[in-house]
């Protein structure tokens, strides 16, 4: 187990290393970082000063070492617009994004898992067909467009819900649906296929042969085991939603990380954009590591195979 954790941690460190290298290289290959690090319309002497200040006139390997060192010490630069360290801004917005993501995850879980279960229990039945339609539209309806239509219907026409901003629970309903819709569909698909796979296994046959009633077999033997991959997907989704809910947060004026990124793009605030991207990558790598270790802890087959 210790060996597994060690190996897995090493992989994550390599991944983070390559991620930082990618970001570093992409910035320098596509243009002049000094132009990005200064506010638009800077004079040439300002550019020169910025190059000297950030060490952009030095060779790439030294620049990269500095870049990496800065990340490791948590210094991701200062936002032009907010005049605040990027990491501080990120962690200030994190609770808001987390709140929205949790509520969207809960919603997608409540829709996706029961629907997937029903589809799997009655394959090709009416429920399965409804489930297929939901899964398909969930993947085809862009979440942001769904958000716009929800605003049109429930805020503009019916005037039931506020159009955006952060307030009480009513502000959470529409962004959660817009964000969770896609994941509801993917959870549905996964629950269904995972459940079908489990229901074909030997211990389900045994449970049936023992004469257990159908619902006990489905709930206690089938569902419990089918839930494992579903929970992983939900966990990964949650982290992705925290960091990638850009458009939904923009549409609903939700003060989260996605909107922070959008403000960064809009105001040409490069340190902010780069910082958010780095932090998002780190968070996802760490959560993946955590999930993998948790799995190895639960399921010995994982830690024993290579």
């Amino acid at each position: 187990m210790r060996q597994f954790i060690f190996r897995r941690t090493c992989y994550s460190i390599v991944t983070l290393f390559i991620l930082s290298l990618t970001i570093f290289a992409v910035v320098r290959l596509t243009g002049d970082p000094a132009l990005l690090m200064t506010e638009p319309g800077a004079r040439p002497e300002d550019l020169a000063r910025v190059r000297a200040l950030w060490g952009l006139d030095r060779p790439w390997p030294i620049q990269y070492a500095h870049f990496l060192l800065n990340i490791l010490t948590g210094d991701l630069g200062t936002s032009f617009n907010y005049r605040m360290p990027v990491s501080e801004l990120y962690f200030e917005r994190l609770p808001n994004s987390l709140q929205l993501a949790l509520s969207a995850t809960l919603l997608s879980f409540l829709i996706g898992v029961p629907a997937g279960l029903l589809s799997a229990v009655r394959v090709n039945g009416a429920w399965d067909n409804i489930g297929k339609v939901v899964a398909l539209t969930g993947l085809a309806v862009p979440g942001f467009w769904l958000g716009l239509v929800l605003i049109l219907v429930f805020s503009v026409w019916l005037a039931w819900l506020p159009t955006g901003g952060k307030g009480d629970w009513r502000n959470l309903i529409m962004p959660s649906i817009a964000l969770g819709w896609y994941f509801a569909a993917s959870l549905l698909r996964l629950t269904r296929s995972s459940m079908l796979e489990v229901m074909r296994s030997e211990y389900i046959k045994l449970a049936r042969l023992k004469g257990l009633p159908g619902y006990v077999v489905i709930a206690m033997h089938g569902f419990k085991n089918a839930l494992v991959p579903v929970l992983t997907l939900a966990g990964v989704n949650l982290v992705v939603m925290v960091n990638a809910a850009v458009i939904v947060e923009v549409i609903f004026a939700w003060p989260g990380i996605g909107r922070l990124l959008y403000e960064g793009i809009f105001q040409r605030d490069f340190p902010l954009v780069q910082g958010v991207v780095i932090l998002a990558g780190c968070m996802i790598v760490l959560v993946n590591l955590f999930i993998d270790i948790l799995y190895a802890y639960i399921d010995p087959r994982i830690r024993l195979t290579k």
Binding site: V14, I18, A140, W145, L148, S193, N243, I265
Partner: protein
């Protein structure tokens, strides 16, 4: 059949052949074809079909004209006009070109890059495999949209930049899957025999590996083209995609946002429905291809 006369036998055979053709037609994914053909047609012949120039105001038309069946609408602009009194219908028709072009080209770039790297990784193994797979892991760790936004802010908005960006963001999925396939293909007899016969790595890859993974690439491509189209719309919506005044569906949605509160629904609904239909059709088509090409998937 055995007792029938020759004449009737021919008839029966003809009927059988006819029935065979019918069932082949029934097997074709009709719904996606019915949806995609008009959009492809619009994209190809936009200049001929569109009633107006999509980037210029209709002379003499009002701003925000509703669709013609509503009060205040006129048959001059069937689906209404936008904030610059441009014709929505013409913009949708030209927008089909942008969406399909970016969707297809982005998928082609991602698919070629991913397949090539996946084959190299799987076939050559060793440090090449390690490097490619570690890069794949790292790139997969970033949420696709966040990564695309990051690249788009660096490269600046233009249609071909978006194609490059989406190619760079989505190749990783292909590389992973293709590598897995190649790992098992590499152990097949005919590959081993070709190697023993002295075929170069390049020849083995081109003759024996590539043709066998192309099916998978096609299925992945047809399933991800919708994702790429939505990604393009998202980037355009955020202002880092196709630049105005180009008529892209995502951009139209973004321009419609400020008037959504005023209840000008047609500006939001029509472009969204177009995206929805195209993505839905490509999804259905992808599912159909997957089932056609991989019988094991049929129940899942």
């Amino acid at each position: 059949m055995a007792i029938t006369t020759a004449g009737r036998g021919t008839e029966a055979r003809a009927a059988g052949r006819w029935r065979g053709k019918l069932s082949a037609a029934r097997e074709l994914p009709l719904l996606p074809i019915f949806i995609l053909v008009p959009f492809a047609f619009a994209a190809l012949f936009a200049e001929l079909i569109a009633p107006y120039d999509p980037t210029m105001p209709i002379p003499g038309a009002k701003f925000f004209m509703p669709p013609y069946w509503m009060e205040g609408g006129s048959p001059d602009a069937l689906l209404g006009t936008d904030f610059q009194s441009r014709d929505i219908l013409s913009r949708l028709i030209f927008g089909a070109r942008v969406s399909l072009l970016v969707g297809i080209m982005g998928t082609v770039v991602a698919g070629s890059l991913g397949t090539a790297l996946g084959i190299l990784s799987g076939y050559l193994g060793g440090w090449v495999d390690q490097v490619i797979m570690r890069v794949t892991d790292a790139w997969l760790a970033l949420p696709a949209l966040v990564f695309a936004i990051f690249l788009a802010t660096l490269l600046g908005p233009s249609m071909w930049n978006i194609v490059t960006i989406l190619g760079l963001v989505y190749w990783t999925r292909y590389a992973r899957v293709i590598r897995g396939e190649v790992l098992s293909l590499r152990e097949r007899e005919y590959v081993k025999l070709a190697e023993i016969a002295g075929a170069s790595s390049l020849r083995v890859i081109m003759r024996h590996i590539l043709p066998n993974v192309l099916n998978t690439t096609m299925v992945l491509a047809s399933l991800t083209i919708g994702v790429v189209i939505i990604a393009e719309a998202s980037l355009s919506f955020l202002g880092v995609g196709v630049p105005p005044p180009e008529p892209a569906w995502g951009l139209m949605l973004s321009e419609a946002r400020s008037t959504l509160m005023a209840g000008k629904w047609w500006l939001t609904v029509f472009p969204g429905v177009c995206i929805l239909l195209v993505v839905l059709a490509t999804q259905l088509f992808g599912d159909w291809m997957r089932i056609r090409l991989d019988p094991q998937q049929r129940n899942l």
